[in-house]
Symmetry: C2
Subunit: 420 residues, 2 copies
C-alpha cells in the first residue's frame, strides 16, 4: 500500500515537472515561431523579388563582381564569420552567436540571389532563425543551460517558414548537429516553433514548393534493384559535391589571398561560364529547373554545371545555402539517369533530391520526412532505399565541416569526427 | 592538379569501400528478411489460430493456470531469461543471445495468446528476429564487430513481418536501444531486412492492420490546443502503464517467491477479473477492440482494465509484448476522451496509439512513422503534437529497463540512465 502511494506520488511529481517544462517550451516555441516566421517571410519575399528580377533581367549577372565586393565588404567590416558552421559550432563548442548574424546573412543572401549567383536559401534560413532565437533567448533570460535548445528551435522555425515542411524542419535541427545523436530534448520546442512558423508564413502568402511525382510503379524486385543502382550514384554525387565545394575553397584561398580579389575572380569565371553555356538555368536557387526536372526532364549536363556554379559562388564569398543546390543536383541527375534504366522520371528526380540531400547532410530521417512533405507518402519504399543507400555511399563527406559524425557509418563505434 | 587527382582518387576509394560494405549488408539484410520473415509468418499464423480459438471458446481462459505453469516450466528448465531486455542488453553490454530464445518465445507467446492472457506480439517478434539473426550471423561468420548490426537487422525484420510497417520497423531497431542515439550504421541492413520481410510475409498472406482515420479537421489554433491537452494525458498514461507493470512485478516477486505459484495466483486473478467484468475484450492482443475504437468507440474503463490485465499477465510469467497493449490503451482512451473535448473519435484514437507508444518506448521518430504507415500521412501535424508532447510528459519511464536514455529529455545533457 505504501508502495502504491509512493508510485502515485512519483507520477504526480513527474507530471507536474513535465507540465512546467512543457509549457515553458510551448510558449518559447510559439514565440520563436512567430518572430522567426515573420523574419523568414520577409526574407522569402525579398528573395522572390531578387529571383524575379534576375529572371527578367539576366544581364544583371554582369553586376556580380559588384555584388560580391559588397558582400565581402559587409563581412569584412562586420568581422568575419563562417555561416551555418557557426550555428553548428554554437551547439558543440558553446561558441556565441552574434546578433548581427541575422541581418548580415539576410543582406548577403539577397545580394547573392539578386545578381544571380548560384546558391540556396535554406542554409541562410537556418542562420537567420538560429541567430534570432539566440537573441530572443537572451532577451527572455532563458536559462543558459537551455541555450542549445533555443538555437535549434530558431533553426527549425527558419527552415520551416521558408520551405513549408514543418515536420522535416523540426527533426532537421535535432539531427544535423551531431550525426548519430538525436537531441530529443529540443523535440517540443522545435515542433512547436516549426508548426507555428509554417502556419504563420503560409497565412502571409508564402507558398511552399510541391513537386508532383506522377508515376509510382509497384515496388517489386526489379524496381528495387534498379533503385539501389541509381541510389549508389546519388551517394557518390553528394560526396563529389562536398569535395568540389571544399576543393574550390582551397583553390581560391591558396591562389587569391585577398578576399576581394577572390570574389571578383570567381564572379568573372561565373560570368564567363554563363556566357559559354548560354543559359540562365544556373542563376539563383533554380527552383524552376527542379520543378521542370519532374515534368519535362533536365539537360544531361545540368547537375555537373550546377555543382560547378554553386561551388564557385559559395566558396568565394557569396552566401545562401547548399541545400537547394543539392536538391537541384539530385533532381536533374535522377531525371536524366532514372529513365535510362527504366524508372519513371519524376520518381527518379524525387529520389535524387532526397538521396543527394541525405548524402550531403548525413541526415537520413530528415531526408525521408522531406520526401513525405514534398512528394506525399506513396513512394515511401523508394525513398527509403534512396536515402539509406546514399547515406552509406557518401562516406564521411558533408556540407558542414562543423558537423560531428559521432558514430561510424559502417560499425556501431563511437568516432566523433568532422566530415571531409 | 595534383590536388584534383588526389580528390578523384579519394572519392574512388570511398566509393569502392562503400560499395563493398553496401553489398555485404544488402545480402545479409535480404537473407535475414527472408529467414526471419518466414519464422515470423509462421508465428503470425500460430497466433491467429490462438486468437481465433480463444475468441470462439472463451472458456479456454480457465486453462490459464495450466498455460502459465507450462511457460514458467519452459523458462525454468531452459534457464531463465529476460525477454526483450536481453536483446537490448546484447547491444549495450555485449551479452550473448542464446539460440534457444527464438523457439522459447515462440512457444510461450503462443501459449499466452491461446489461453487468452492479455499480451502483445511485437515484443515477441523483436526477440524472435534478433535471436534468429544472431544465429545467422554466427553461421555466416559475420565479423564479431558487426554483431550489433546483425541483431538490429533481425529485430527490424521480425517487427516488420508481423506488423507490416517496414519503415517504422527499420527505424525502431535503431532508435529503441539507446534513446538519443541513432545507430545509423544499421540503416542499410535494417531497411533491407525490413522491406524484404514485409514483402515476403505479405506474399504469404499476412495481412497488416490498418486503421481508418475518417475525419481529419483543419489544423487550426483551436484543434492545436485541444490536441496538446489530450496528449498530456497520453504521456501520463504511458508513464502510469510502465509504473503499473513494474509495480505488479515487484508485488509478485515480493509476496510469491516461487514462480509457479506466482503464475497460478495471477492466472486466478485474471480469471476472476474476467468473470467480474463479463467481457472477453481483454483476452489476447485485442486488435479487434483497437479497430472498434476507431469506428464505434470504446468503453470508458477499457484503457484501465487493459493496463491491469496486461500488467498481471506480463509481470507474472506470461509472454508476448507490451506494444500492442500500449496501442490498445492509447486508442481506447483517446476515442473516449477526444470526443469529450470536441476532437473526432478516430483521430483521437490514432493519436492515442502513437502517444502512448511514444511515451512508453521513448521512440518519437518510430511513433511518427508508425502513424504514417497505419493511418496515412494526412493527419501529420496532429501526430507530431501527440508524439512530442507525450515524449516529454512521460518522463524517465519506459517499458524496457535495459533501454538507455542517453540524453536528458529536458536539456542537452548526457545522462545515460535506465528508465524507471
Amino acid at each position: 500500500m505504501r508502495e502504491f502511494v509512493r508510485r502515485i506520488r512519483h507520477i504526480t511529481y513527474t507530471s507536474v515537472f513535465g507540465l512546467r517544462v512543457l509549457f515553458k517550451w510551448i510558449l518559447f516555441g510559439t514565440l520563436t515561431g512567430l518572430v522567426v516566421g515573420a523574419a523568414a517571410t520577409a526574407f522569402f519575399y525579398c528573395l522572390r523579388f531578387a529571383t524575379d528580377f534576375h529572371t527578367a533581367h539576366p544581364a544583371v549577372i554582369f553586376g556580380l563582381p559588384l555584388g560580391g565586393v559588397l558582400i565581402v565588404a559587409l563581412y569584412h567590416f562586420m568581422k568575419n564569420d563562417l555561416g551555418t558552421n557557426v550555428i553548428l559550432a554554437s551547439i558543440h563548442k558553446d561558441e556565441k552567436i552574434p546578433g548581427r548574424m541575422a541581418p548580415m546573412i539576410f543582406i548577403a543572401t539577397f545580394l547573392t540571389h539578386f545578381f544571380g549567383a548560384s546558391a540556396g536559401r535554406e542554409g541562410a534560413a537556418l542562420q537567420l532563425g538560429g541567430s534570432i532565437s539566440a537573441q530572443l533567448g537572451k532577451l527572455l533570460r532563458v536559462n543558459p543551460e537551455d541555450r542549445h535548445i533555443v538555437i535549434m528551435c530558431g533553426m527549425s522555425a527558419g527552415f520551416s517558414a521558408i520551405f513549408g515542411t514543418p515536420m522535416a524542419s523540426a527533426i532537421f535541427a535535432m539531427e544535423v548537429i551531431s550525426v548519430g545523436i538525436m537531441h530529443y530534448s529540443a523535440l517540443v520546442p522545435c515542433v512547436f516553433a516549426s508548426l507555428i512558423a509554417s502556419i504563420f508564413s503560409k497565412s502571409l502568402g508564402v507558398i511552399s514548393e510541391s513537386f508532383y511525382v506522377s508515376i509510382i510503379p509497384e515496388f517489386n524486385v526489379e524496381h528495387f534493384i534498379k533503385m539501389i543502382f541509381l541510389s549508389i550514384f546519388f551517394g557518390v554525387l553528394s560526396a563529389a559535391f562536398c569535395l568540389m565545394l571544399r576543393g574550390f575553397g582551397k583553390f581560391f584561398t591558396t591562389y587569391f589571398k585577398n578576399s576581394f580579389i577572390r570574389v571578383i575572380v570567381s564572379s568573372a569565371i561565373i560570368i564567363g561560364l554563363t556566357l559559354i553555356v548560354r543559359s540562365t538555368d544556373y542563376m539563383g536557387a533554380g527552383i524552376g529547373i527542379i520543378e521542370r526536372a519532374f515534368s519535362e526532364g533536365a539537360r544531361p549536363e545540368a547537375f555537373l554545371l550546377k555543382m560547378i556554379f554553386t561551388s564557385l559562388a559559395l566558396s568565394s564569398g557569396f552566401k545562401g545555402g547548399e541545400i537547394v543546390p543539392s536538391f537541384f543536383i539530385g533532381a536533374t541527375f535522377g531525371s536524366v539517369v532514372g529513365p535510362l534504366i527504366g524508372l519513371p522520371m519524376s520518381l527518379s528526380a524525387a529520389c535524387g533530391m532526397l538521396g543527394v540531400f541525405c548524402g550531403a547532410t548525413n541526415c537520413p530521417i530528415t531526408a525521408l520526412l522531406i520526401g513525405f512533405e514534398l512528394f506525399g507518402f506513396q513512394g515511401m519504399p523508394y525513398y527509403l532505399v534512396a536515402v539509406s543507400v546514399s547515406y552509406m555511399m557518401s562516406g564521411y563527406h558533408g556540407l558542414y565541416k562543423e558537423q560531428k559524425i559521432v558514430y561510424s557509418k559502417y560499425q556501431t563505434r563511437f568516432i566523433n569526427r568532422n566530415p571531409k
